[in-house]
Every structure is written in structure tokens, then in C-alpha cells.
């Protein structure tokens, strides 16, 4: 029995996971001064799409842990105090993990290096971004704005321009990195082909 292996295997799943972590970490830190333009959501979602839910969680938690440590070491989170930051961290990490799981569900259908596949991923990234922003804005209200007397509806109203920019960020980064990772992703292995056998042709 001959096994025909793909000649297009490029990187292992662990390589891809490492590259996705790199995309998330570098993008988040480089774009820190540009509100709600970030690559973490794209990296988490693409990890789910191409590597499955376990890698989605691994990639997401790795990116968030590395970048949060760097950001808070730079003193960005201090104005709010430890407890609000820990609370907000729970919301941002779980929100991104949920985006990774959405990606894993989307990845059940085969995502290829095609425009159609990238369009599908781009469309899925829009509700994923909205869900993430609704979730984390609630966390912001719970731990930071609410205790200062700001109503939840005000927090959601103020969130609107940030979410619009976040969607713009997602629909650019998801197909951009999606097409790169679709090209790098190991092609599915072919099923073993049965060997040809000699025999007498069946008689009609």
C-alpha cells in the first residue's frame, strides 16, 4: 500500500503557534498607542481556525500573558490599582479565548489559501470583535467605570467609536495574516491510495 504524502507541508503546528504568538505580541506592543488597533484578536482567531481549540487557548493565553506583563511593567495599568486590573484581565483574557474558540468552530470547515476562505474568516471576525468588545466593556464598567459612578449605558455609548475602529482592525488583520497562515499551514494528508491489483476483468 503506497502512502502519498503532501509535498506542501511547510511548518509544524508548533511552528505556526509560535509565529501566531509572535504576531500577537509584536502587533499589540507596536500598536499600543493606537487605540483598539491590534493583532491579538486575529492571532487568537487564526490559531483556532488552523490549529484547533487547544492551540487557540495556548496562543491566546501566551500572547496576553507576555504583553500584559510588559505593559504593566511599563506602568500603564497602575492608575487603576491591582484589583481592577486583575478583574479587567479576566475579561480580556476570557474574551480573546472565546474568539479563539469561535475560530476553532470556523476551522471545522476547511480553510484554504483562497479568497473565498479569507472572506468567510473576515465576516466571522466581525461578530467575534463585537462580542469581545461588549464583554470587555462590561468588565470595564464592573471594575473601573462603575465604581466611579459611570452608568453601564454610558460605558457602552462611549465604546461605540472604539468598537468601530476595532472592527476595522479585525477586517484588515484577519485576512492579511489569515492568507499568510493559510499558505503556511500544513496541507491535509491524503488518504492512503489502494494499490492496483491484477485480476481478471469481470464478465458482464
Amino acid at each position: 500500500m503506497a502512502i502519498q504524502r503532501s509535498r506542501f507541508r511547510k511548518l509544524t503546528r508548533l511552528d505556526l503557534a509560535f509565529l501566531l504568538v509572535l504576531v500577537g505580541v509584536v502587533g499589540r506592543l507596536l500598536l499600543l498607542n493606537v487605540a483598539n488597533v491590534e493583532t491579538v484578536l486575529a492571532a487568537s482567531m487564526l490559531a483556532g481556525v488552523f490549529l484547533g481549540w487547544r492551540y487557540a487557548l495556548l496562543v491566546t493565553i501566551s500572547i496576553m500573558a507576555i504583553t500584559d506583563v510588559v505593559i504593566y511593567a511599563m506602568g500603564w495599568g497602575d492608575p487603576f490599582g491591582l484589583l481592577p486590573i486583575l478583574g479587567l484581565t479576566a475579561f480580556t483574557w476570557s474574551g480573546m479565548a472565546f474568539v479563539g474558540l469561535i475560530g476553532a468552530v470556523a476551522g471545522r470547515r476547511r480553510i484554504l489559501f483562497t479568497t473565498r476562505s479569507m472572506a468567510v474568516l473576515t465576516v466571522i471576525s466581525i461578530p467575534a470583535t463585537i462580542l469581545y468588545d461588549v464583554w470587555t466593556a462590561f468588565g470595564d464598567w464592573l471594575f473601573i467605570a462603575g465604581p466611579r459612578g459611570v452608568p453601564l449605558e454610558t460605558v457602552y455609548f462611549l465604546q461605540i467609536p472604539f468598537t468601530l475602529v476595532h472592527i476595522a482592525s479585525s477586517i484588515i488583520f484577519v485576512p492579511l495574516f489569515g492568507s499568510i497562515f493559510a499558505w503556511l499551514t500544513p496541507a491535509p494528508e491524503y488518504l492512503p491510495l489502494p494499490e492496483t491489483t491484477k485480476g481478471e476483468p469481470s464478465k458482464p
Binding site: N33, V34, V165, I167
Partner: protein, 144 residues
């Protein structure tokens, strides 16, 4: 008509760019824009630093955001002011130091209130109509 993969990719990229630009423009529309004033308004500011306090008021200022009025006070009373800018598309200003008291000194940070209401948006996006008193306090997070 069946499009080639290349044509599809170009059309898709163009669509994404157009939608992204539209979203960013829509986001800009939500940002508060201070009106250009033809007449001055009455405003006052109190800055409570570590062991010192600064008060400033104007009866005819046209600097009608929290940031611009603080800048006016700093220029008039000759105290230092430092801030960081958030880059576009959602530009914003955050004060990092007033009169040599820097954010993080003694785990305290600059926060502002407009007529006892906590500032929910950046200082340059908080518009003043006239008659308000702005309070800047250098406080630890749990005090805010």
C-alpha cells in the same frame, strides 16, 4: 460571469479597505468636537498636587476643553505640564505630569472631575460649556 481568483482577491481587498475606511470615518463622527466660541466663557480649575494647590479662573476663555483650559492655566501661572498623545484614528491626550508631579510618583496619578463628575473621556475630548469648575487631583487608585 465567473471571476478569476486574482480578480476576486483584488475585489475582496478593495472591499475590505473601503469598509475599514468607512468604519474609521464613522468612529470619528462619534468623537466629541468642541465648538468654536465667538465669545469667552467662565471657567475655573483647581489642581491639588502633593502638598500644594493651584487655582486659576478666567471670565472670558475660549479654551473650551479640560485639556485646553489646563494648558491655559499652565501658561498663565507658569507651571509645567506633560502629556502623551494617543495616535489616530482615535486621538486623545492623557496628562502625565502637572507641576513636576509625575504619574506613578508615590503610586499616585492625575485624574479630573468636572463639577464633581468623574472624567469618563480624555481631557481633550471633554467639552466645557461655561460655568464649570474642573478639579485635578493627584490620587492613589483606591482614592479615585
Amino acid at each position: 460571469m465567473v471571476l478569476s481568483e486574482r480578480s476576486r482577491a483584488i475585489a475582496f481587498t478593495a472591499s475590505v479597505v473601503l469598509v475599514a475606511v468607512a468604519l474609521i470615518l464613522a468612529a470619528q463622527a462619534f468623537l466629541p468636537r468642541p465648538p468654536t466660541l465667538s465669545n469667552g466663557i467662565v471657567l475655573s480649575v483647581v489642581v491639588e498636587g502633593p502638598g500644594w494647590s493651584i487655582s486659576y479662573e478666567s471670565n472670558e476663555t475660549r479654551n473650551n476643553t479640560v485639556f485646553l483650559f489646563l494648558l491655559e492655566a499652565a501658561r498663565s501661572l507658569h507651571f509645567g505640564l506633560e502629556w502623551v498623545n494617543y495616535s489616530p484614528p482615535l486621538s486623545a491626550v492623557f496628562i502625565t505630569s502637572i507641576n513636576s508631579a509625575h504619574n506613578g510618583d508615590g503610586h499616585r496619578y492625575w485624574q479630573f472631575w468636572v463639577d464633581v463628575t468623574f472624567g469618563t473621556v480624555a481631557a481633550d475630548l471633554t467639552i466645557l460649556r461655561g460655568g464649570e469648575t474642573i478639579l485635578w487631583r493627584f490620587v492613589a487608585p483606591q482614592e479615585g
